[in-house]
């Protein structure tokens, strides 16, 4: 019965499915932010500023990710910059 209806409804959008998918994305972002310390955004922007003082990194060349481990917190910093070839 449900199959049959699904078949006929293929074209019309299944709005509950869209709602569910949107929620999953939103909530996983919310949960990530929830665990972050309040100072993280400031720390990030200061780190970027300092790094760019020394390298020619673009904003996208600097990746900072925050991890919440069972006993401690961790940030991972990935920086790259263009090499001046001789």
């Amino acid at each position: 019965m449900k199959r049959l209806r699904d078949f006929f409804q293929k074209e019309s959008c299944q709005s509950a499915d869209i709602a569910r998918e949107r929620l999953k994305v939103m909530i996983s972002q919310d949960r990530m932010q929830r665990n972050q310390p309040d100072f993280l955004p400031r720390l990030q922007s200061e780190l970027v500023e300092v790094i760019r003082r020394y390298t020619q990194s673009e904003q996208d060349d600097i990746q900072i990710s925050y991890h919440c481990l069972p006993q401690r917190s961790q940030i991972e910093l990935n920086v790259s910059w263009p090499r001046n070839l001789p």
Partner: protein, 270 residues
Amino acid sequence: MARVVVVTSGKGGVGKTTSCASIGTALAMQGHRTVLIDFDVGLRNLDLVMGCERRVVYDLINVTTGEAKLSQALIKDKRLDGLFMLPASQTRDKDALTYEGVGEVIETLKEEFDFIICDSPAGIERGAVMAMYYADEAIVVTNPEVSSVRDSDRIIGLLDSKTRKAEEGESVRSHLLITRYDPERVEHADMMSVQDIEEILAIPVVGVIPESPAVLRASNQGVPVVHDSDSDAGQAYSDTVARFLGEELPMRFTELERKGLFSRMFGGRR
């Protein structure tokens, strides 16, 4: 041991006060001494749903500031023995409630009651945190709607971090109550299902209350809908409380009633 239960949601207007009134009433019907506390400072709704608005003299803030004794502020339900409510203040500023003041009131109530049910204001700010702070358990009220589910997840985050239990390294036992559920719209894939919501929020469902005209009828009369034992919503609330007390019951009113051809042709709308 008294159990302190917060009824909370994040999003406003999802049915916290309606649920508080019916859950408290059903607990008292089963002989549990129950008190309902309205934490919605400034709005004060629970007394209306309980039908005791004309008997409000003192409120929670009067008690915390010592202007009134707890016994003066508690309003006894006119239908059930062992059911009381403590109204919210209508006028004062929201910061008039303090954690110490609320803590003292709850400690005193614990000596007298089996259940202390806290009706939280909407939002994720101070008022909502105050209402949940002393809770042992939470009933998270959610509608099958994106914004409501998202806010419930935020509230679950607060329950995990901003309560006394959390500070002591324990956790607030949380139950999911889905209200205003419409099986017909779920069937047509216009509304998320109980399973969808339970999977996203990852806390166990204690009840599902259908969208029902009986709720408005009940609140018009100031009689909690659980008294209307012929109504779907009333029965769904009694089931909810039975589950909350540990009984195992299947969910009702979550599936679309399949009408036979005959009733579809000849049956009028209910």
